[in-house]
Structure formats: C-alpha cells, structure tokens
C-alpha cells in the first residue's frame, strides 16, 4: 500500500499539515508528500491512496498550487480505481465559502470516477482546535479504511 499526501496551499498551512501527516504513517505504508503543483491527474494510479490537504483562498477560490491540477481534471480525465481522501482547511468567518477549495477538488475527483475513502473533513481556522489535532483523528479513519481494503 502506497500513500501519497498532496497539498494545495497559499500560505503554507496545508503544506505544513501534509508534511506532518506523512510522519503519522508506518514505514509499511510507503508514504510520501508532494505539492499538487508538481503532479497531474494522469499521474494518479490505482495502487496508491491519495490524501489531499487543500485550503480555500480569497472568495472561495482554490489556493495557487491547486489551480492547475484542478483545471486538468476536466471531462476527459478517467480516474476509475483511484482512491483518495480530502482534508480541507477553511475559515468559518467566511461562511458562504467555507471549505470551498477542498470541495472543488473533491467534486472534480468524484466526477472523474475516483473513489473517496472517507468523507471530506474541513478544519476551521477560526475554531478552537488545532488542524493537526483534527487531522490526527481524521487520519485514523483513513488508515482503518486503507488497512481494511488493502
């Protein structure tokens, strides 16, 4: 089982969390992390589970490093067999657009035929808990799914 943690970031919060997450896997999971800017949808394969950490920027937009990846997820992309899970970063102060960046990626992945391992979780920067704490809980659900299916 290989795990690749991908991040889409504007201010580095998602990148830091992705790095942190990669330390939470055993060696047997073959985990790595990379920027969404350094990968295209056609690179994704069925033998790897993709965990995507993605923020929202501006008025519900994708962060800079996720834009190209998202734009390449058009109608012609076939991601059948690809498994993924998304952890979003948002700010509930902007309630109309809360977590929209990660939702845009999730919707496009699902439309392309990829399968979500667990439901998307969005951490709230205006909340009282730390993103790492929420991510630790979330990632256990991801691991359960991975080890149950691999």
């Amino acid at each position: 089982m290989n795990v690749l943690i991908l991040h889409g970031t504007e201010t580095g919060n998602a990148e830091m969390l992705a790095e942190e997450m990669s330390g939470w896997f055993d060696a047997r999971d073959g985990v790595g992390h990379a920027s969404l800017a350094d990968i295209t949808p056609s690179d994704l394969d069925a033998g790897t589970a993709y965990l995507i950490v993605c923020s929202t920027y501006g008025d519900g937009e994708l962060p800079g490093t996720a834009k190209t990846f998202h734009s390449l997820l058009d109608g012609s992309t076939d991601l059948s067999g690809v498994r993924f899970a998304i952890f979003g970063l948002g700010d509930s102060q902007y309630q109309d657009t809360f977590g929209l960046g990660s939702k845009l990626i999730e919707d496009a992945m699902i439309t392309a035929g990829a399968q979500a391992l667990v439901s998307r979780h969005v951490h709230d920067a205006s909340g009282s808990d730390l993103a790492e704490d929420a991510a630790r809980i979330w990632i256990e659900t991801v691991k359960d799914r991975l080890h149950a299916t691999s």
Binding site: E10, G12, N13, Q93, Y94, T97, A125, S128
Partner: protein
C-alpha cells in the same frame, strides 16, 4: 575551524519568518536566528491583521514551529542599528537577511492633517492590535471619514462600526471596544479618489459588512456606465448597498478628492472636490489609509533600490525591500526565493561563509557584554500564556498593551526596557 553556516534574520514578521522556514530547507544544517525589535514575534500577523480575523492570524501557529520544533533561535527586544550594530551582526553571521518591515504612514499632505481627530491608519491599526508603542488616539463621532480605497480602509471602517458581541471570538481589547463605543462613531464614509471601477477591495472583506446587523450601506459617485452588470468587486459592493436598515451607516464615496481637514481646535469636517464641485463632509474623526513608507527614525539603511541581494551575504525581503505591497502568500514565495539565493551563496565557490563566524554565540556574547537582556522563545511562551489567561468573556486572548508588562510577565530583566521604547 568548520562550524555550520550561521544565518541571522532581522525582523520576525511574515517576511522574516517565511524566509527562516524556507532557509531551514534550503540550507539544512545551518543555524538560524531571528532578531526582533519588539519583545515577541509575528509582526503584522500579530499587529496588522485585524483582531476579528483570527482565522488569518492562525498562520502564526504554523510559524511558531520554527522556534518550538525546528531550533530557530529568537532574540526579542533587540533592535539592530540600536542595540546591536548591523556591522557587528554581519561580522557574527555568514548570512544576514533584513526583513524589518515598514512602519511609517504615508501622509496625505493636505492642510489640517495634524489636527486632533486625524489619525493615520498604521498607527490606528497598531493601537487596535495592542501594539505596545501606541497610546490611545483621539476617537470621536458621530461621523468618521476613512481616506483610502484598499483593504486597510475596510478593516478600519469595520473595527470602528462593530459593537459588543460582534467582537466575539476576537482578541480585541474590551477597553478599546468601550472607547470606540463611547466615541459614538455611527457614520463611516470610505473616501476613494479613483472611480468605482478601480476599487482594490477584496470582495471577501466587503461581504463581511453584509453580515453586520443594524448597518445600512450606500454608495456615492458611481457612474451609471460603471455600475451596469458588474459581476466583480463593484457588483458585490452595489448589492451590499441594497442593505438599507440600521442605526449605523457606511458610505462608499468615489471620485472624491480630499483637499483640507477643517476645524478650530479639532477636526470638524473634510473639504473635498468631486466631479459635481466642492463638497464638505462632516467629520469628527478621519483616518488616512493611503499606504506606508519608511519611518523617519528607522535605524537600518533605507532607499537601497529594490534588489534582493544588497551585497554578498546580505539580503532583504518584504516591505523593507519593496515597499508596502504583497500579502502573506507573497511573503512566503519571497522567502523561498531569498533562501534559494542564500543557499547558493553558501555552497558556491565564492561563498561568504567558511563556517568560521561564531553565529549565535557571537550575538549572545555581544548582548551580554552591553548588558542587554532579550526575549527568547520560552519568555514569549510565558507572554502568550498570560495573554490567553487574561481573555475576557467572548475573547480568545487579551494582548499585553505595553512593554513593561512583557518584561514583568516573562521574567526578562526589564531594568533597561526604556532603551527600546517608542521612538521619540
């Protein structure tokens, strides 16, 4: 003697700290220290980003790791050019990155700007954020004019208009909220010299006004041809202006140029010219939000052009380098760029670094020799812990408002704290 290369960063705002973060990766094994004139780090994240934007301030949590986990050294309440000479720092460190920011307000340069009741946005924003060098400004209502058409103007207007529970979840000082409420600002006009087409507001910030109950919003000076079918920022603004009911009022006025602040002993009105002719806006308070420039008393060299490398081993980034433009994300990108340049210099043949400079040990020696005590990261943690403990009902923290409090809370010897007090 071959030690690991040493890097000093002057200024612990976003530019300096993103540079430190990028340097940790680009120059693995380097010893990195951040030197800050204020007792605690985070610069504009702490003292510029509005108190009711805690989600934006949360980037602080990411940057705390530099000191908490990554071994970056912190030297707070140490002012380069005053406590320690830049040349001494250069002698001690292989690489020095200047990220000292820009604290001076640009002046409008019209008559009456020094009247009581006129305050610059940088000073007001620092006060709203409990910057330890800013005393209480003159606050007065019912009418305030904010001159400027950028996001700083929006922040100022919002903070002047919000009341009571609207500050819940923020770290805004209840004492200052009470001062603003007592001043009774009920009408705020945001005054833009340019046309409504040219607005530089972020629509996400505009929309925040839409969530304030009891606030009516209007626009003046928008040309019909500009208003038609605009789906961008202006469209957002025009839809907000449908908001009609409220005891508080916000007006966006375009194509209006301020000519003079008028009043006897204090501000009473702002005289302007508009396309239809001169107009006088009543104003007991005015805030100029037209940008920043270097503070007249800054002790570091200024006006060096805007290239990143000043000379071999000496770099500069952020507002200190290129003036007041660029956001948190651009500071991060610039940090990566300076890290790339510095790591190339460290590994290149013409390297300024032979690993023989003392780095942190040299700085500690100099500070001890001149009897200067400084804030290390542990002292900062004591400050932050105290600030969280002081939080009033509905607030996440109460920031310490003056330098002596920082010394008292942290246990750092403050007997010479006056040395780095407010600039004269």
């Amino acid at each position: 003697m071959n030690r690991s290369p040493s890097i000093a960063i002057v200024g612990a705002g976003p530019s300096g700290l993103f540079s430190a973060q990028a340097l940790l990766r680009a120059a693995p094994g380097a010893s990195i220290d951040v030197i800050e004139a204020l007792p605690v780090p985070f610069g504009l994240l702490r003292y510029g980003v509005a108190a009711d934007h805690q989600g934006t301030k949360a980037t602080i949590r990411q940057l705390e790791r530099l000191f908490e986990r990554d071994g970056v050294g912190f030297f707070g309440a140490v002012e380069i050019g005053r406590t320690i000479a830049l040349s001494d720092l250069r002698a001690d460190y292989d690489i020095v990155v200047l990220a000292a920011g820009l604290s001076g307000d640009r002046r409008l340069g019209i008559p009456g700007e020094d009247l009581a009741g006129v305050v610059a946005s940088g000073r007001l924003t620092r006060w709203l954020n409990d910057h330890p060098d800013e005393g209480d400004p003159e606050l007065a209502g019912p009418c305030a004019v904010v001159v400027g058409a950028g996001n700083v103007a929006l922040d100022v207007a919002r903070m002047l208009l919000k009341r009571g529970a609207e500050f819940d979840g923020s770290d805004f000082s209840p004492r200052k909220a009470a001062l603003i409420a007592a001043a009774g600002v009920e009408n705020v006009t945001i005054l833009a010299r340019g046309s409504a087409r040219e607005v530089r507001f972020d629509s996400v910030l505009l929309k925040e006004f839409g969530r304030l109950a009891d606030l009516s919003i209007s626009v003046e000076g928008v040309r019909t041809e500009d208003a038609d079918g605009d789906s961008g920022v202006l469209g957002t603004l025009l839809s907000l202006a449908q908001q009609r009911d409220g005891s508080r009022h916000l007006c966006f006025r375009f194509e209006t140029v301020p000519v003079a602040f008028a009043g006897e002993s204090r501000l009473g009105s702002l005289e302007c010219t508009a396309p239809a002719g001169p107009i006088t806006l009543p104003a007991q308070m005015a805030v100029t939000a037209i940008g920043f420039q270097s503070a007249a008393t800054g002790a570091l060299p200024r006006n060096l052009g805007d290239h990143m490398e000043i000379e071999a081993g000496l770099y500069r980034v952020g507002w200190y380098r290129h003036g007041p433009r660029g956001t948190i994300p651009t500071a991060r990108l610039e940090g990566k760029e300076v890290a790339r340049m510095a790591s190339e210099a460290l590994s290149g043949t013409a390297a300024p670094a032979d690993g023989s400079k003392p780095g942190r040990a040299g700085l500690v020696r100099r500070l001890s020799a001149n009897g200067t005590s400084w804030f290390d990261w542990r002292s900062c943690l004591r400050v932050f812990e105290k600030e969280r403990a002081l939080a009033a009902e509905g607030r996440v923290a109460l920031k310490l408002p003056n330098r002596l409090d920082f010394f008292a809370v942290s246990g750092v010897d403050g007997s010479d704290a006056s040395r780095s007090g407010p600039n004269p």
